[in-house]
């Protein structure tokens, strides 16, 4: 990465494809272009890294436990259902 990079004509094109890049949904040629560009453009590299991190935070967020009384209520509702699914 060099801070001296001044050709930003590809920044916008790259910006639009970042999610597909992160998800591995782009062809090899486009991936290579993005990798090359982000090696030379700090702004796009930063943009890519923060977006990747956003996705990683989503993927790693923890679930809350089901409140016990709600779970109990659900159980009771189910017990009162008809005795067949084929009505």
């Amino acid at each position: 990465m060099t801070g001296e990079y001044r050709d930003h004509t590809h920044c916008l094109e790259m910006f639009k494809k970042l999610s597909e890049y992160i998800d591995g949904e782009l062809d090899h040629v486009t991936c290579a272009e993005i990798e090359q560009h982000s090696e030379n453009c700090v702004a796009c590299f930063s943009c890519l890294e923060t977006l990747k991190r956003t996705v990683a935070i989503c993927k790693n967020t923890k679930d809350k436990p089901v409140p016990r009384e709600f779970s109990q209520r659900l159980k009771e509702i189910i017990q009162n259902l008809p005795k067949t699914t084929s009505l």
């Binding site: 920044c11 930063s46 679930d63 659900l74």
Partner: protein, 206 residues
């Protein structure tokens, strides 16, 4: 669901099928096992989709009642989990109460684009470069959940299904009856929106 059928002419393996066959052949008491299997997942999906915890409980309850009602029509052509989320998503969409905090507006990527490199930070900020496990805590989860809830619903559902629930682009498209292209567009904008919220949290709010 016809769309999904055309796209997936394949044999689906699913650990839930035996249980569903049992329920549909008369062992209705086993429905409780199915509920137990998905109760927590569905509760958290609903919490992130609805605003109010009471609405979330209603959504879980209505979803399971709908599942029970339509289970005999289940065709074993998709994983049960995908079908369950399809029922849940449509239950959610039908819920009348709308969030005051998340108006149904369009997000455009332009509002997240910093421009030709001049407006963007000159280096990767700490929150995106330190190891992830140093970042994850309850407060961050809460910040993320708040940010998700403030997203307009059409984006919220897509990012929850893709990035939190882990469905693929095609699966998400089938669950929401959208095209894959549409899922990708919404996902990208939702992620950009969440990134801005997280950035704000790390740079200003603490």
């Amino acid at each position: 669901m016809t769309k999904a059928k055309n796209l997936t002419p394949r044999k689906v393996k699913d650990n839930d099928f035996d249980l569903i066959r049992a329920i549909n052949s008369g062992q209705v008491d086993k429905f409780h096992d199915l509920v137990k299997r998905y109760e927590q997942k569905l509760y958290n999906f609903s919490l992130r989709t609805c605003w109010d915890p009471r609405d979330a409980e209603d959504m879980v309850q209505d979803t399971f009642l709908n599942v029970f009602r339509y289970l005999k029509d289940f065709r074993y052509e998709t994983r049960f989990k995908n079908w369950l989320y399809k029922v849940a998503a449509s239950t959610c969409i039908k819920q009348r109460r709308k969030s005051k905090f998340a108006p149904e507006k369009e997000l455009s990527w332009e509002e997240f684009y910093a421009g030709d490199g001049t407006g963007a930070p000159a280096q990767v900020p700490g929150w995106a470069s330190i190891p992830l496990n140093q970042l994850l805590n309850e407060e961050l989860s809460e910040t993320l959940n708040q940010a998700i809830m403030s997203l307009p619903r059409k984006y919220r559902l897509v990012v929850i299904l893709r990035d939190i629930e882990g469905f693929s682009t095609i699966e998400t498209a089938q669950i929401l009856d959208l095209s894959s292209a549409n899922v990708k567009v919404r996902l990208h904008r939702a992620r950009l929106y969440l990134r801005d919220k997280l950035k704000g949290y790390y740079e200003h709010d603490r």
